[in-house]
Symmetry: C2
Subunit: 375 residues, 2 copies
């Protein structure tokens, strides 16, 4: 494990864990939700307000940043933290997932992925080594190995071939990271294997042999559904090392997160609160609502009168409705802020419940309030 | 003058004045710049950050608000201040100017203006009485009479006919205001007469007979150019009552404002800082720049390292450039904030210079720094 990077589990409650990841840039309280700052900004948010919601860390997307403004430019400007005015921890993905979903004319080989930018058609090659080089140029505190992330369903033989490629890329990523990284930065390996128990176990074992300070669970939340995702977690997380953080990539909606925390996951990221907020969806303690619905046009109540968050507390639903109807910037700004606050309060609530040994009570309350199936 | 509303000139320097308008909702330091909050929001700004720039008052647009969400709905929701979370003074226009520039199938008669909404084609009638009714439903602290605002150039006879209609509407507006308004609210008459000295004098004299607690100068900044606007001010403001605030509507760029303050104007509003900010233009102490220019792609300097405003101080031009190139919300958010800060610092600088009797020095410095012609 890198010096300056550590993880301590301070409480467990059945499968759920609460703890803290220490990094040179600050602590990350777990279970942690990381707002997504794709292109060097959590969309429609001032960074001081992202922080005010209780976020300890944000995520940046290697694919987007390597294309624009480019990793070399960010490095020349003092690194991603300085660039985006976020002095706290940053996690970056490897770029692999978004290359496969966003770029044009991509071609995957043993060496890596060649592709054309979706922005200007320019040609690029992303290898395990180049991904690490980019993440180090950005200065990410927590970095991801390049992996291949196949869709589910996939035949087991194909899933194994893909998983073994990801393992080979994990080894190359680690070697590159050892060359390029700064003290206190950490590289996570990514467990793949689709929804096959044997493959997830094999992937995990091989990654543990390489040895990483944290392990991500990739290849989920790709359309397989909540129940299937939980089934995969059920046969994966129990075998993951207890003393290392576990990061479920790209997850999820509140009920996904609560269920995954119950299964021992420590870290999450998802565009749901920000993207939904920009489109008028707000999470509330009673579930999700669409503020554009006509029923809110005369609603004088704020989204959460008890909240410390101005976005949740200081504006009526009628006003938010008006802002979305009028196409005003402030609508997405306020609903994004509110949703991030909701997510961070959800995480804080789970951390507190785990600490006091009442996670089951938390889940029961969440289920009763939102009507969501969790477990 | 309405009880609870007063204006005190605390210092003069040649033609320029510094003072304070007291209202039940707070003081307005003059010369004052009022950010425009068209549809109940200063676009792309959190209201707490509008306030933090030093804004004492914002402007709301009657035309927009009467159509959506409607004045009756705003009133039912507690008034515009509560609706938009801005507890400080609000000035509203009469709606007349925007009816003529934005609506469809408008028809002007002695009674008022009938028109169709640009949003949904619905039919409306705006009379002096209805305009005041709407402004009172919104709860505006400073309200405007309905007027007609002809373009320049216009023949003198037509300009006089129009000006006399505005005077008759001023009388009707005042009667309606006396019926509907709350203590401490104020109604301003609007001086018209295009660029004809005799008409401006006649308009002003007739309005002063009706007697208002403040006078607006309308019908300028409609394409006549800075020099012509200053010429009109030169023969208008010296005749305006010294003890009443003077509001130059819809003005302007920084150099317009500095020149108008030199001519004795106390209040301004303009979409320039907000609209330009959304389109990538930033005012700086050295003049205006377009942050989208490629020359800023690698510029590590913030817009103003000495500024107390986070938007001006905490982000490099390279980052702002990136945000605009990537189409991120945060670009318009930060540049709007920066521009409003610039405008408020400009006003504060003029107030301080007038108080110390060095307005000429302020103007000379402004001219030297920006290269703008002012006087």
């Amino acid at each position: 494990m890198s010096e300056g990077f550590s993880f301590t589990v301070s409480a467990t409650d059945a499968g759920a864990r609460a703890g803290v990841i220490e990094t040179p840039r600050g602590d990350i309280r777990t279970p942690a939700f990381m707002p997504v700052g794709t292109a060097g900004t959590v969309k429609a948010m001032l960074p001081e307000n992202v922080r005010a919601t209780g976020a300890d860390i944000v995520l940046g997307n290697t694919y987007h940043l390597m294309l624009r403004p480019t990793a070399e430019r960010v490095a020349a400007l003092g690194g991603l933290h300085h660039f985006m005015n976020w002095p706290h921890p940053i996690l970056t993905d490897s770029g692999g997932f978004q290359v496969m979903s966003l770029s044009k004319l991509r071609k995957l080989t043993e060496e890596g992925v060649s592709f054309q930018s979706h922005i200007d058609g320019s040609k690029h090659m992303l290898t395990p080594e180049r991904s690490i080089e980019i993440q180090c140029l950005l200065g990410a505190d927590i970095q991801m190995q390049l992996d291949e992330c196949p869709a589910i369903p996939i035949e087991e033989e194909k899933a194994r071939t893909s998983m073994l490629l990801s393992v080979r890329w994990a080894e190359r990523s680690k070697r590159a990271f050892e060359e390029k990284s700064q003290p206190g930065q950490a590289l996570f390996g990514i467990v793949q294997g689709a929804n096959y128990e044997a493959l997830r176990r094999e992937s995990l074992e091989k990654l543990m042999e390489i040895d990483f300070p944290g392990y991500s669970i990739g290849g989920l939340a790709v359309g397989e559904g909540r129940e299937e995702m939980f089934r995969v977690l059920d046969f994966t997380t129990p075998h993951m090392p207890a003393q290392k953080p576990r990061y479920l990539m790209g997850v999820g909606k509140p009920a996904d997160i609560v269920g995954a925390v119950a299964r021992g996951v420590d870290m999450f990221d998802c565009v749901a609160p920000t993207r939904s907020g920009r489109h008028g969806q707000a999470w509330t303690k009673a579930g999700a609502i669409n503020i554009k619905n006509a029923s809110f046009a005369d609603d004088p109540e704020p989204l959460d009168p008890e909240s410390p968050c101005p976005a949740s507390r200081d504006y009526s639903k009628a006003y938010l409705h008006h802002l979305f109807r009028a196409g005003e910037y402030l609508g997405p700004m306020l609903l994004t802020w509110h949703n991030l606050q909701y997510y961070q309060e959800l995480m804080a609530g789970m951390r507190a419940a785990i600490a006091t040994g009442d996670f089951a009570g938390f889940v029961a309350e969440f289920r009763a309030a939102t009507g969501e199936t969790v477990l």
